[in-house]
């Protein structure tokens, strides 16, 4: 049995095919779902792919949040389904209040494009179950607004409940507490700025994204 992964595509999304490719290579079955649909079909898990949903007008994710498909995504997440937001997808999840906090412009105002080394801080999440705490992964980053920020209370809550799942070994964007990825209380919704789907083949320079994508497929099957 293979996992059905819905890959959400808004106008302006540009990483949906990379995600679909990585999912296929690992034995999953991706379906690209357009933003104006109201159902996720028979999906076992959802990926909100990166890009510039609705042109990032107003704020990244601000308009995507009101796309019809997001109601289905919220419902799916609240029922415990695995939802992963990558890069712009992370911004969409924060704007949708499925994850706390916000992503602001990188410190130094530079668009960051390169490989970042991440440390797995928690393997109790839909994206990191197949990893060990302390694993270091080289994963591409590609963003201008990836500087994670949140209130002091939220940060304390994230720390105390083991909800910071990935940290940068060297902080590229000014994110508070070196945060690269966080999860929700239920640990089924995960957002991260780096792109694991672009690191699933040694030809691309790293296949460190494989354990992350594999975790997602396993989470999908577990909830199926």
């Amino acid at each position: 049995m293979s996992a059905n992964v819905a890959v959400v595509r808004f106008p302006g999304t540009n990483c949906e095919f990379d995600v679909a490719e990585a999912v296929t290579a690992l034995g999953g079955e991706p379906t690209i779902v357009f933003h104006d649909e109201v159902s996720l079909g028979s999906a076992d898990s959802v990926v909100i792919a990166g890009g510039f949903a609705h042109g990032d007008y107003l704020r990244p994710g601000a308009i995507a949040r009101f796309s019809p498909i997001m109601e289905a995504v919220s419902r799916f997440a609240l029922e415990g389904g695995a939802v992963i937001g990558i890069c712009n997808g992370f911004q969409v999840l924060c704007e949708s209040h499925l994850l706390p906090g916000a992503l602001q412009k990188n410190a130094g105002l530079r668009f960051k494009c390169g490989t970042a080394r991440l440390r797995v801080e928690s393997n109790r999440s839909a994206l990191t179950e197949q990893c060990d705490v302390g694993d270091e992964l080289d994963i591409p980053i590609n963003h201008f607004e990836g500087n994670y920020t949140c209130s002091e209370e939220t940060l304390a809550e994230l720390r105390d409940n083991d909800r910071i799942v990935l940290r940068y070994v060297e902080n590229p964007n000014g994110s508070v507490d070196d945060i690269a990825g966080i999860c929700n209380e239920g640990r089924n919704v995960v957002g991260l700025m780096p792109h694991p789907e672009r690191a699933c083949n040694p030809l691309l320079g790293s296949n460190d994204g494989v354990p992350l994508m594999r975790s997602l497929l396993e989470s999908a099957l577990a909830s199926a």
């Binding site: 107003l58 704020r59 601000a62 009101f66 924060c94 704007e95 706390p100 906090g101 916000a102 602001q104 412009k105 990188n106 410190a107 130094g108 105002l109 500087n147 920020t149 949140c150 209130s151 000014g174």
Partner: protein
């Protein structure tokens, strides 16, 4: 009633404003030496139909909270002016 509305969205105190900082750093090169505390925000203008000023303000507060600003990082200030009919 019809109102002209201006919503100014600015970063909350304590939130890094790299655009403001960059502008501030550039100003001395142009001979503007006395400028400090530069902050960059957005100004959003529109007209609104509402029963009265109270209902307009309630609607605008909700609109700012849920859409025009992200309260985690931004504050918004609403200015509304009744349009003479």
């Amino acid at each position: 009633m019809t109102f002209d509305v201006v919503v100014e969205v600015r970063l909350r105190p304590g939130i890094a404003d790299p655009q403001g900082a960059t502008i501030e750093r550039a100003l001395p090169a142009l001979g503007f030496d006395g400028v400090s505390s530069v902050g960059v925000g957005k100004s959003i203008r529109f007209t609104l139909e509402s029963a009265d000023e109270e209902s307009a303000r309630a609607e605008l507060a909700d609109l700012c909270e849920r859409f025009l600003s992200n309260p985690v990082i931004e504050d918004s200030e609403i200015t509304l002016t009744p349009v003479a009919s």
